[in-house]
Assembly symmetry: C2
DNA sequence: CGCCAATGGCCTGAGTTCAGACCAATTTCC
DNA sequence: GGAAATTGGTCTGAACTCAGGCCATTGGCG
């Protein structure tokens, strides 16, 4: 037996705690973050990204490096760029339609990451919902939450529904007011997005999911933390059950 | 009003989602991780770190970079190094004794990070405990858990108790089997450690904390996820109450 | 004693990233 | 129409990081 990261018997604390330091290649990390933000619908099709200088500052990266990332996104067909005042970089990526194609074909390591994401999600998303429900939301935030919910239920095509769903979950996380929660949920949703693209869309599932979203929003607006958490847990469990079948 | 990361009124999803890419100094990140691991007692005083080549591989960093980090740790007096077979780098840092000194003197940004860590902790540590209790622990892992608990209760001096406490919480997290949980708890414990060094030690607090630890271990060994989570939530709430007073 | 293995110490050449300045295109506003 | 502002495009020298090889020191083993 080689030194696997998590042997069944013994628990190697140092090995568990020390994780790879950030991958060298800042520009890859930028591509990753921006691609995720675009695919999750944080920047919907047609919207304009912030100017390069602002984005570079936000990502704490030099403009040269950010531009490399932009070039990659451009080459991959996610964005297009126009120069001059009023120009900028606009999102052109059409949201992908979920399909059952790339079902298997994942490495064991990938599979493990997926399962881990599902477990972690069941912790952080309900936790974030609990926090958000505890917070005293202003009228503007209540509106944003309801709009995010409306976007999900209004989405007709599966691809749009998928993006709106991600946006909804990210919105709930952001309402918690915790940067760490947002980071965790973003990461989890990115992985989830991958998985959900690989399963067929069933109207029944969507309807069920939408009911849970609505129920969650009611709990959030009513300021009922425990109820919000329970609803979100159920929601995560239901989605996870769907997905675990996929990777089994 | 400037564009603050989290305005009270509006919620800027892109701003919340896009976070700084890795601080571009791999060697700083290494120093950070190793220093945290040492201070939290993952590598106790007197223990030997893995060989440079192994550590470099684990952190996914070149040996040259790792050595820069080692030099920094050596200069800071955390470790000492001996060459040759049977040599290596040993931890020399004496655990710091908590004291009420550096109470205030924290920037508003730091304060916000601290409070965020407390909120995030209340989500991930109970969640990790829930997961760990759900897992079917082997005899070896049960032993490790009980040993970690014994180490905490046996620690006489405050500095040792502080380290043993960190190790205990990291052990529980690691037992969850989720890499993401371990990462989150490690990060949270690092911040917590800072805060706890700045408050005076009260025997009553320690006794109370130890009782909660014991209660948690019972729930974990009995395989009662909900109970484990509730106990851990109470534990986090109690610590947080103590600490929030400090930074108020 | 002499060899071998393990470990830290050091060097080189190539690739990345950075900060900042300057150029070019395009829109907005007078 | 023209000036100004905004935005992407480009360049340069310095600093950081990497991969890999080689050297130096120490302890174990035959």
């Amino acid at each position: 037996m080689s030194a696997s990261p998590s042997e069944a018997a013994g628990l190697d604390l140092p090995e568990a705690v020390l994780r790879p330091v950030r991958g060298h290649h800042a520009f890859e990390a930028c591509v990753e973050q921006l691609a995720v933000a675009i695919r999750l619908g944080v920047y919907p099709r047609g919207s304009t990204l912030p100017p390069e200088r602002a984005l570079a500052a936000q990502l704490r990266v030099s403009r040269a490096t950010l531009r490399e990332a932009m070039a990659a996104l451009r080459q991959a067909g996610l964005v297009e760029t126009r120069r001059g005042r009023g120009g900028g970089t606009v999102v052109t990526l059409k949201p992908r339609t979920p399909s059952a194609r790339a079902a298997a074909r994942v490495s064991p390591q990938r599979r493990a990451e997926w399962l881990d994401a599902l477990e972690f999600r069941r912790i952080v998303e309900p936790g974030g919902a609990w926090l958000a429900a505890e917070t005293d939301l202003g009228p503007e935030r209540r509106e944003q939450l309801e709009r995010a919910l409306a976007d999900v239920t209004a989405a007709r095509r599966p691809a749009e529904h998928r993006q709106a769903d991600s946006r909804f979950h990210l919105t709930v996380a952001a309402l918690s007011g915790s940067a760490r929660v947002v980071e965790a949920v973003t990461s989890v949703q990115a992985t989830l997005h991958e998985m959900l693209l690989a399963i067929p869309v069933l109207d029944a599932n969507i309807a069920h999911s939408d009911r849970q979203h609505a129920s969650l929003v009611r709990a959030l607006l009513a300021g009922r933390p425990d109820q919000a958490r329970t609803v979100m847990e159920q929601h995560c469990d239901d989605t996870a059950a769907l997905l675990r079948g996929l990777v089994a």
